[in-house]
């Protein structure tokens, strides 16, 4: 075992730390709220140039064929800089599905790698609560040999800036994964921001034609589960990075901020809060490694599922200690929009609740 970065990882980390810290300042991120789809288009092109978008595309299809350890290295840097982006959707979830589809979607993968396409997963429906193995109300019907999609979707993360959508639907009682361009006729998106300024949309499909059936039945379910589990790891890595940023920000603040005639970091009660945050963050990174190890060893799906769910349960507790106390340590400034800690808090809050909360992962573990 080797816990130190490989050459590729060191390269990823170096480029990420330089580029992200320079570009994604607090002001820049707040500025992105005014954009239509929340995307920093220019930065996304840089992501492409730096090779980040090709990480999970197999070498045979023109990608880097990187490991989840590679992905996590980068995702940690994104989290550290509190960058809310379609990274997990387009770099992890979509490539997993598009590569594993009955017909691998080479052209689209190439476009993702080039930064010209972004793909969002469109799964949730009204009444759902993390329903990843329940039949879909959205239907995919075959009409004249073509797929026609109809139904109401909710909370499709990263859909507003996506060029393509992977839609879960029911086809003849089976689960189907259907790929459609996001601007097709009959698609009505209602976009909105999440609390970390990532974007999502409710989407209505009215007889939407032109879809591609990527997989169906058990294969589709397996592919969806795998993509989600890898996505959960990428999000967890972002959470860990964000928690580590909280440690750096808070320890600096405690030294700088004076109260009662001394830096507040001299107060033992606050020192012990920092220690609790450190322990939680350290343990969080450790269990992230456990999940990465499971993914990169191509563990059997139930073993991967178990490790991912354990990780998410642990992280959900850890971020509460870290992100909440980070605000507390900042006093009134912590709840303003003008200090980093409230941004990290909201970012972690979102990452914790996407693709399954603690209750979901507990239920999943019980059913394994």
């Amino acid at each position: 075992m080797d816990f130190n970065p490989s050459d590729l990882q060191r390269m990823l980390l170096d480029s990420a730390e330089r580029f992200l810290a320079d570009r994604f300042t607090l002001e820049h991120r707040r500025g992105l709220r005014a954009t239509a789809d929340g995307l920093d288009t220019e930065a996304w092109s840089t992501f492409a140039e730096l090779g980040w978008l090709s990480l999970r595309v197999p070498e045979a299809l023109g990608g880097l064929g990187g490991t989840m350890a590679d992905v996590a290295t980068l995702a940690t840097a994104l989290g550290y800089n509190c960058v809310a982006s379609p990274f997990t959707s387009s770099v992890v979830i979509a490539p997993t599905i598009l590569t594993g589809a009955d017909q691998p979607q080479e052209a689209l993968l190439e476009a993702i790698v080039g930064g010209t396409a972004r793909v969002a997963l469109v799964h949730d429906e009204p009444g759902d609560r993390y329903a990843y193995d329940k039949p879909r109300g959205t239907t995919a019907a075959l009409r004249d040999g073509a797929i026609v999609l109809s139904g109401q979707k909710l909370l499709a993360v990263d859909a507003p800036s996506a060029s393509h959508l992977i839609v879960t639907a029911t086809i003849d009682g089976d689960l189907a994964l259907v790929l459609v361009p996001s601007d097709g006729a009959g698609i009505e998106k209602s976009p909105y921001p999440l609390y970390n300024d990532q974007r999502a949309a409710d989407i209505r499909f009215d007889d939407v034609a032109g879809g591609t059936l990527l997989a169906r039945g058990a294969a589709a379910q397996a592919l969806l589960t795998q993509a989600l589990d890898l996505g959960r790891i990428a999000d967890a890595a972002q959470m860990v990075g964000s928690m580590e940023a909280d440690l750096a920000i808070c320890s600096a603040y405690l030294k700088e901020r004076q109260q009662f005639g001394q830096p507040i970091g001299k107060f033992q009660a606050l020192q012990h809060i920092m220690a609790d945050m450190f322990v939680a963050t350290h343990q969080a990174r450790s269990i992230l490694y456990a999940a990465i190890a499971s993914a990169d060893a191509d563990a059997a799906p139930p073993a991967l599922a178990r490790m991912v769910s354990l990780m998410r349960i642990n992280l959900a507790e850890a971020y509460q200690v870290v992100a909440r106390q980070a605000i507390q340590l900042h006093g009134g400034y912590g709840i303003t929009d003008e200090y980093e800690v409230s941004h990290h808090y909201r970012h972690q809050l979102v990452l914790e609740k996407l693709y399954g909360d603690v209750d979901h992962h507990q239920r999943r573990l019980a059913a394994l």
């Binding site: 949730d124 609560r129 329940k134 909105y192 999502a200 901020r257 303003t336 929009d337 003008e338 909201r346």
Partner: protein, 399 residues
């Protein structure tokens, strides 16, 4: 010990409830429901004070000669609970609970006559100018100066965390009038009109979209010397008087009871595979623990109101209410977010009138998270959790 409540209070409660039902305008109520206690627009506070004033109820806890009702602590408790349960706006706390009591206790007759009726009637909003950047819990380091020149003070400095500062007509400020004496002794309590030249107000954007808290910059602001309340140099003791004045408010018991009931309602409305989450034992148990904690808190408040003989310093009990009440506020919000799951993540426009209709989303999904986010402040303002624990360990245990 006799824990049976006075039965006459039932009739009192009924009377209050009927009156509020009759008086509270529907639009105010609906706005409060939409904000679910995470926000209170200051103009609504004034509107509601004006309405209450017609019954003589705007400042019921004030001395009768200044427009109070003479109600007992239990009657005040019931009145406040009924207002909260009816989703009435808050009243202007700066006038009713802070500046008002200081003026009727320490002010001159002229000041009483000048300010108290206007405050009581809700003629204008009062902003608090105590905190300064960099001295959150440490008032002794207060730096805003007021230099006496003839019949005026020249005020320079900066205040922060001033609620509704952008809206207030008057502010009550702690200022340093004497830099030569020991820090606590040189502070005075000054009324300043917010439109005085030299005052700039900046609204601070908060993490939940709200921006009610303000920074107030004072640049050579000229204030008539007659605006000094009480004695020069006594501002510190007036501020302490304020903190000791109200022992139970910081429990937020009415909001806590209302919110814990809302959490139960959400748990009944939200479903997993068609089963309400209230039947998920994990969520149910969390909720029940909070209901138990709210019950304990309510009885802690009743102990305080009933003047229980208490073997510790009474301020230790007050800080206990603050610690327990603020933690409970946070825990309830956290549960509500967790009940909503990913649907708690959507950021709706903060102002109710800016919100788009979202028919696929329940109303509470618009309000749970803004409230939860801003409630991170409940363990910060009015003395952080850490400050409260310090007070308890000192006053209860002499540590």
């Amino acid at each position: 010990m006799d824990f049976i409540p006075d039965p006459s209070l039932d009739a009192f409660r009924h009377e209050i409830r009927e009156a509020i039902n009759a008086d509270l305008p529907t639009d105010l109520k609906e706005k409060q429901i939409a904000y679910a206690g995470s926000q209170n627009e200051p103009e609504d506070s004034l509107t509601w004070m004006r309405i209450l004033d017609k019954r003589g109820w705007a400042v019921p806890h004030w001395p009768v000669e200044h427009g109070g009702t003479g109600w007992s602590p239990m009657q005040l408790y019931i009145f406040n609970e009924e207002c909260t349960n009816a989703f009435a706006p808050d009243i202007c706390w700066g006038s009713s609970h802070m500046c008002g009591p200081v003026i009727y206790t320490f002010g001159s007759d002229a000041q009483k006559e000048r300010f108290l009726p206007e405050m009581r009637r809700g003629d204008y909003y009062l902003a608090q100018g105590f905190s300064e950047p960099g001295n959150g819990s440490d008032l002794a380091r207060l730096r805003t100066s007021a230099r006496r020149e003839g019949d005026r003070y020249i005020v320079n400095g900066q205040k922060i965390w001033t609620s509704s500062g952008y809206f207030a007509e008057w502010g009550f400020f702690l200022v340093r009038t004497d830099p030569t004496v020991k820090p606590q002794a040189g502070i005075s309590f000054l009324m300043i009109k917010m439109d005085t030249p030299g005052i700039t107000v900046r609204r601070i954007p908060q993490l939940n979209g709200e921006s009610d808290l303000c920074e107030v910059f004072l640049d050579n602001v000229e204030v008539p010397a007659g605006n000094l309340i009480g004695e020069e140099g006594k501002g510190w003791s007036y501020a302490k008087f304020l903190l000791d004045h109200e022992r139970t408010t910081s429990s937020f018991i009415f909001f806590n009871k209302r919110e814990v009931a809302r959490a139960r309602a959400i748990a009944e409305a939200e479903t997993q595979d068609g089963v309400p989450l209230i039947r998920n034992p994990v969520f149910r148990d969390r909720l029940t623990r909070l209901e138990a904690e709210a019950t304990a808190l309510e009885w802690s408040v009743l102990r305080e109101l009933s003047k229980e003989e208490f073997k510790y310093h009474p301020t230790a009990a007050a800080s206990t209410l603050k610690v327990a009440g603020s933690r409970l506020q946070q825990a309830i919000c956290e549960l509500e977010m967790d009940l909503l799951g990913a649907r708690s993540l959507r950021k709706f426009a903060y102002d109710a009138h800016d919100r788009d209709a979202a028919p696929l989303w329940p109303d509470y999904s618009e309000t749970v998270t803004p409230r939860a986010l801003v409630m991170r402040a409940s363990t910060i303002y009015g003395g952080t959790l850490q400050i409260q624990k310090g007070i308890i360990s000192k006053l209860a245990f002499d540590l």
